[in-house]
């Protein structure tokens, strides 16, 4: 595996509360998630799965309509359930972006997809084929 190249900035914020919703665009495909986590390792040196959390007044609808506007489906977790699954939430990049992290790739993917969640249709979906 290639050597990690970049240091990831952390915001230094407290963990989201246990009931805070954590969103990831699209259905949960373990192979795609694995690819994303490996790519994150390749660039930043840790296995991470990108998500967005309801923090700092940012709501589910805010995230769905902006960050995830091109996602027809959204996987919805709570921060508490992810932590209870033995995963870490790192406040990477700019709020409300987070990485779900575990030192072992297989554990990260397995624990993430096995964490209680629901899949909802994105009511703010904007088709990439349309002008808006």
């Amino acid at each position: 595996m290639p050597e990690p190249k970049k240091r990831r900035a952390r915001r230094g914020e407290p963990l989201p509360g246990p009931s805070a919703l954590v969103l990831r665009g699209d259905l949960l495909d373990p192979e795609e998630i694995r690819d994303s986590a490996e790519r994150n390792y390749e660039v930043y040196g840790f296995f991470g799965i990108s998500v967005f959390a309801e923090v700092g007044g940012t709501t589910f609808d805010d995230i769905a309509a902006t960050k995830l506007a091109r996602a027809r489906w959204i996987a919805v977790f709570t921060a508490g359930d992810l932590i209870a699954s033995g995963l870490e939430l790192w406040d990477t990049g700019q709020a409300p972006h987070y990485d779900v992290v575990h030192a072992e790739l297989a554990e990260l993917v397995g624990r993430f997809v096995d964490t209680p969640h629901r899949i909802v249709r994105n009511e703010h979906f904007q088709s990439p084929d349309e002008g808006g």
Partner: protein
């Protein structure tokens, strides 16, 4: 839709831009600053504009609308 740059559109860099890597491009030679391509995966993709490509191959981009993509490609073809 043919995806020109495989990417996880959830992923953001430290500036809040989406990112992928050059090795994930179908045709890496077209991935340059200002290029307009499709990025993402089958169910979750967008037209995007490449902001920059780092020396290590990390590609930073922003999502744009289909109308913006059409306009950008029209301008590129005219020049």
């Amino acid at each position: 839709m043919d995806i020109e740059l495989d990417a996880d559109l959830n992923a953001e860099d430290d500036e809040g831009l989406n990112w992928s890597v050059l090795s994930a491009a179908a045709h890496p030679e077209v991935i340059k600053a200002g290029a307009v391509v499709t990025a993402g995966r089958d169910r979750y993709w967008s037209w995007v504009k490449v902001v920059r490509v780092d020396p290590d191959g990390q590609v930073h981009f922003e999502q744009i609308s289909a109308a913006e993509a059409q306009e950008a490609r029209k301008l590129a073809n005219a020049s």
